[in-house]
């Protein structure tokens, strides 16, 4: 028998080998669940964004409103003192 024929014969016998079965379906399902990309739900994200925008608007409106009441500390320095105020 030629060596290559011997290898072919060995292969023919090897093909008859009974191979094991592991029962991987549960393990595969678990791995798929762990590797499946999590879908980000857009509703809470949108709600959060909307609330943030609302809060920012309110803060801005209040800030503009209070800005008009603020007097400059520099102006206070150059402004003449009222006559009626006694310094000492």
């Amino acid at each position: 028998m030629d060596i290559l024929e011997g290898l072919d014969e060995l292969a023919r016998r090897a093909r008859e080998e009974a191979t094991p079965v592991f029962g991987v379906s549960d393990a595969v399902r678990l791995r798929i669940l762990s590797e499946r990309p999590q879908t980000v739900t857009l509703i809470p994200l949108g709600l959060f964004g909307g609330l943030s925008a609302l809060a920012a608007s309110i803060t801005l409106a209040l800030a503009v409103q209070f800005w008009s009441y603020v007097t400059s500390p520099v102006m206070e320095l150059v402004a003449p003192l009222p006559a009626e105020i006694r310094l000492w």
């Binding site: 060596i3 011997g6 060995l10 016998r13 592991f22 991987v24 379906s25």
Partner: protein, 216 residues
């Protein structure tokens, strides 16, 4: 929506199965319905596919490693990879062919990764030939024959080993190997020729026929 093979394709964006040239058998209807259900997120349908094809896929991957733990890990990898690629399955060949392609590439990747690792000591399977005494023609059982053959193939580089593994164990022709691996047929032919020459040298060096008692 119904294709030429008469199967429905309910999933938007999923490619309908078609019957290609060179393929006469239709995709199993049960397979296709389980595939579409799996793509829609039905885990039980995918579980059915796994159970249906686990045996042949394990049989193929058993040729890449005889370590049960490694083999099981590879089988799991194949089915996980297949799940995430299921949308690309066009149904133009049986699902098993598609799974075998993924399994072959997974096994090949496994070999390449192992080949990069430094070999600390000779693999135990390399001693298998030492254990086999010159024996009667019928004395070698299929498992022993597979162990010997895989030990011999293990001495080849991954590309050579892959071509001969598929030829010897899966009875694949050059065209099928080329399709599975995405290689050209010419490359597979050259690889097969070179691999068989190397394998012959290894078998001669090991006095394979004498050890098997096949010197007739």
């Amino acid at each position: 929506m119904t294709n030429t093979a008469g199967y429905c394709c309910p999933i938007e964006g999923m490619i309908e199965p078609s019957v290609p040239m060179g393929y006469n058998g239709p995709v199993e209807n049960t397979d296709w319905s389980d595939v579409t259900a799996s793509v829609q997120g039905d885990d039980e349908a995918y579980g059915r596919l796994v159970r249906r094809y686990e045996k042949p896929i394990t049989g193929l991957l058993w040729r890449f490693t005889r370590d049960p733990a490694q083999c099981e890990e590879l089988v799991q990898q194949v089915f996980v990879e297949a799940y995430f690629s299921l949308k690309t399955y066009r149904g133009d060949a049986p699902l098993l062919h598609w799974l075998r392609r993924i399994a072959t590439r997974t096994g090949y990747r496994f070999w390449r990764e192992k080949a990069r690792e430094p070999q600390e000591m000779p693999l135990p399977e390399f001693d298998v030939l030492e254990q086999i005494e010159a024996s009667q023609d019928d004395a070698i059982d299929p498992a022993e024959a597979a162990t010997v053959l895989q030990a011999l193939l293990g001495r080849l580089p991954p590309d050579d080993r892959l071509v001969l593994t598929l030829m010897y164990f899966e009875d694949c022709g050059t065209l099928e190997i080329a399709e599975r691996m995405g290689w050209s047929r010419a490359k597979v032919k050259t690889q097969a020729l070179r691999a068989r020459r190397k394998m012959k040298e290894i078998a001669e060096r090991e006095h394979l026929l004498e050890r098997l008692g096949w010197t007739f």
